[in-house]
Symmetry: C2
Subunit: 141 residues, 2 copies
């Protein structure tokens, strides 16, 4: 836990962000979890600790700094995730598949599974890809 204190501080400092309780706590939640989190999840965990607005702004800041990345969803929620491997470097979060478990509903970054390229129709130029697979994760197997 002392370990994690300095880990959150380091990540924040590396990204030139002031080290505040809210940011440490929220970053800690991501570090303590393998899955992705939605705004609502974070509110649940932090309770009355911080204002809703602070949570919104913290998540937005983390996205801007590349500390967390967005995961597409089909319900209208925004999912945020910290990548296992690369978050400490703060870049290149982009090429992995996301897995959504149908049992525990967690969303997990499969950092080692690269999104394959596809052949697009004439006239289409690709720039970036996202891929999500759902099914049963290794914990729920």
């Amino acid at each position: 836990m002392d370990q994690q204190f300095t880990m959150t501080d380091d990540i924040l400092k590396r990204n030139k962000l002031s080290v505040t309780d809210g940011r440490k706590k929220i970053l800690g939640l991501f570090l303590a979890r393998d899955g992705a989190l939605a705004h609502a999840d974070i509110e649940k965990f932090t309770g009355e600790m911080f204002d809703r607005v602070t949570v919104y702004r913290t998540l937005q800041t983390f996205v801007e700094k590349g500390i967390v990345h967005l995961i597409p969803t089909t319900d209208n929620s925004i999912l945020y995730a910290l990548c296992k491997e690369n978050c400490e470097e703060g870049h290149h979060h982009d090429n992995h598949v996301h897995f959504i478990c149908d049992v525990c509903t967690k969303t997990i970054c499969l950092d080692d599974v690269t999104i394959p390229k596809v052949k697009l129709p004439k006239g289409f130029t690709p720039n970036h890809s996202e891929m999500m697979v759902n099914g049963v994760c290794s914990d729920c197997k």
Copy 2:
């Protein structure tokens, strides 16, 4: 347009839905477009014609019946799309890539581009996949 009248009617009847003005209009919007639509888009097109609630319920009904399918997004909106090929059969909408144009922001179903399979880590069982590519579409090229 007479053509399209009966087309919407047919799709609705095939799915055992009452043929109403709202459903015909909204289905017509999808048929008239290549791209996907969000609730907000539909409201823009229909104006004061129908209640917001009706639009919500219509879209939900269409999803349940498999007339339209959902497309994942990273902002918190829900995108709905009718597939070019398969919608008349009302099933198997599931295996194609979605393309989001960075210029016109339209989301397009690439019905002919199949989502490739990926090798998952040990313990993960796949069930269904989604893939989105963004870049520049053939119209904006």
